[in-house]
């Protein structure tokens, strides 16, 4: 009988490295591409058009944050954090989408070498980064006020909320019916982030607090990877039937 030789440790390592490097290259190219695109188009044209959207998003997030502080009495800081962590991202993406689609230039821009889709992808990545920043700031604020929860707990839960929501938003953008994508996104937010605390009350808060760190970290990493893949898909998806001339 033929015996398959057991690979040496060296061989194993070599094989693993090869798999990793092969698997990683497209991702690197994609990130490199995004960076190059950003460098070419420049901050002015990526964010200049949507300054008003940014201002709206920041103002409303800050307002909602202060409003949410009043929930302190209910002892549900984790579910509150979880629910409002994506607010900034939601408002920003909705306002930006809406603005682009209202623009009479949408179709023309879709026929340029770099399309709205590619710019949207860059924006989404930046919005997520901004969302993380906002979540961290909010978490710090919360942990100062709610002394019974640790900063780490609050931060990790808000990050989880943000990522779940970013994935939902991207999913709706990629697979949803674009005519009512806005409503779907807001509906999903209600269902995923607001309904559980309404149904289970403090139980939801306890549940969020008892999720093991390892599980949350793994979830966050997996979702971040899916998110990047989704962004990549967004760049390559094109037809804009909704805007056919009427």
């Amino acid at each position: 009988m033929n015996k398959i030789p057991i690979p040496t440790k060296e061989e194993k390592e070599k094989a693993i490295n090869k798999i990793i490097s092969n698997g990683m290259t497209p991702q690197e190219n994609f990130i490199q591409r995004i960076v190059n695109l950003y460098m070419h188009i420049g901050t002015k044209y990526i964010f200049g058009d949507i300054l008003d959207c940014l201002i709206i998003a920041i103002t409303s997030t800050v307002l909602i944050y202060f409003f949410s502080l009043s929930f302190r009495i209910m002892n549900t800081e984790l579910s509150t954090t979880f629910a409002i962590s994506p607010i900034f991202y939601i408002i920003l993406t909705l306002a930006t989408e809406w603005k682009e689609k209202m623009s009479h230039l949408y179709e023309l821009k879709m026929t340029c070498k770099y399309t709205v889709k590619q710019i949207t992808a860059i924006r989404l990545l930046c919005f997520s980064a901004l969302g993380v920043l906002f979540s961290s700031l909010m978490s710090m604020g919360y942990s100062l006020i709610f002394t019974n929860e640790s900063l780490l707990d609050i931060f990790i839960v808000s990050l989880l909320g943000l990522l779940i929501n970013s994935l939902l938003a991207l999913g709706v953008m990629l697979y949803g019916n674009r005519r009512n994508s806005h409503n779907i996104l807001i509906g999903l937010w209600f269902a995923v982030f607001l309904l559980p605390p309404v149904i289970w009350g403090k139980g939801w808060n306890v549940f969020l607090g008892e999720l093991p760190y390892l599980l949350i970290t793994v979830l966050i990493l997996i979702m971040a990877a899916i998110y990047l893949l989704g962004i990549k898909k967004l760049i390559t998806e094109r037809e804009v039937i909704l805007y056919a001339n009427r």
Partner: protein
């Protein structure tokens, strides 16, 4: 060479275009058909804004959808409802779109300047477009489409909303841009393309009717177009085409299978005659 290969486009159950096969080489192509015939639908497929339901579109043998960025890089497009930013000056606007077209900043400034002078807008290059006339906006639109020196220039109803003088200017501009590239322009106004199109494409009942030189299309009605000042006396079945005034008389141009008897002059058919004849049933 751009090839449209047995392309059908459905919107749900409605068929906007059926089994269209076309070939575009260098030169000016006029898409001539009444409103609703499917001109914009074809143009949106040529610009990859819409995908064909059946068939494909090839550029030098490659599917334009697969070519993706590389294809968008070589087209220039002026949409039917050309949107612009009121608060931008033509210069800012061209810089913006030029950036999206992937043109390097070092080249872009010069390119913008040259194009604005080509469309005679240099003196308003830095004025906001808010107060521009329809003709000026259209010229900004042309300049925009020319930024990447496209191999294929696609213009959807570029003369809509222009006054007669602006139309003439526009025609001359298109002619001057048509060297060494494919120019495809759509219109429902015959005079827009009669003199500048090398080939005229017409649709009828959502299918391709012709793709030919204007003079060949006119042959279609040869010996069948007549003129008279006493149209009421014609008894044979006929179709009134156009009328003109001369010396207090109204001359009526009409088409009929046979020359009617009486004082009637046979005339050389023009593109407008054919257009009116073909689309006689449409309003």
């Amino acid at each position: 060479m751009l090839t449209v290969n047995h392309v059908t486009k459905n919107y749900g159950k409605f068929t906007a275009l059926e089994d269209i096969t076309l070939e575009f080489n260098k030169g000016v192509y006029g898409l001539l058909a009444p409103n609703g015939a499917g001109k914009t639908t074809l143009i949106k497929m040529l610009t990859t804004l819409l995908f064909p339901t059946k068939g494909d579109i090839l550029y030098n043998g490659d599917d334009i959808i697969a070519l993706d960025e590389d294809y968008r890089d070589i087209i220039g497009y002026l949409p039917q409802d050309f949107g612009y930013y009121k608060n931008y000056s033509p210069k800012q606007f061209l810089n913006y779109l030029g950036t999206l077209k992937g043109i390097e900043k070092s080249v872009l400034d010069k390119k913008t300047e040259a194009l604005l002078s080509l469309v005679s807008l240099s003196d308003v290059a830095n004025k906001k477009m808010r107060k521009f006339s329809g003709g000026m906006i259209q010229r900004v639109g042309i300049a925009q489409a020319m930024l990447n020196d496209p191999e294929i220039l696609i213009l959807d109803e570029p003369t809509a909303g222009l006054d007669p003088k602006e139309r003439v200017r526009f025609r001359n501009l298109i002619s001057s841009l048509s060297q060494n590239r494919i120019v495809i322009l759509s219109t429902h106004i015959v005079s827009d393309i009669e003199t500048i199109a090398n080939k005229v494409i017409m649709f009828k009942d959502h299918q391709l009717l012709c793709n030919d030189m204007p003079k060949n299309i006119c042959k279609y009605l040869e010996g069948k177009v007549f003129e008279t000042s006493e149209i009421s006396k014609i008894e044979k079945p006929h179709l009134v085409l156009t009328q003109r005034q001369e010396d207090d008389k109204t001359y009526t141009r009409f088409t009929s299978e046979e020359k009617p008897a009486g004082h009637i002059k046979e005339v050389v058919p023009n593109l407008e005659d054919v257009f009116l004849y073909i689309y006689k049933d449409e309003e």
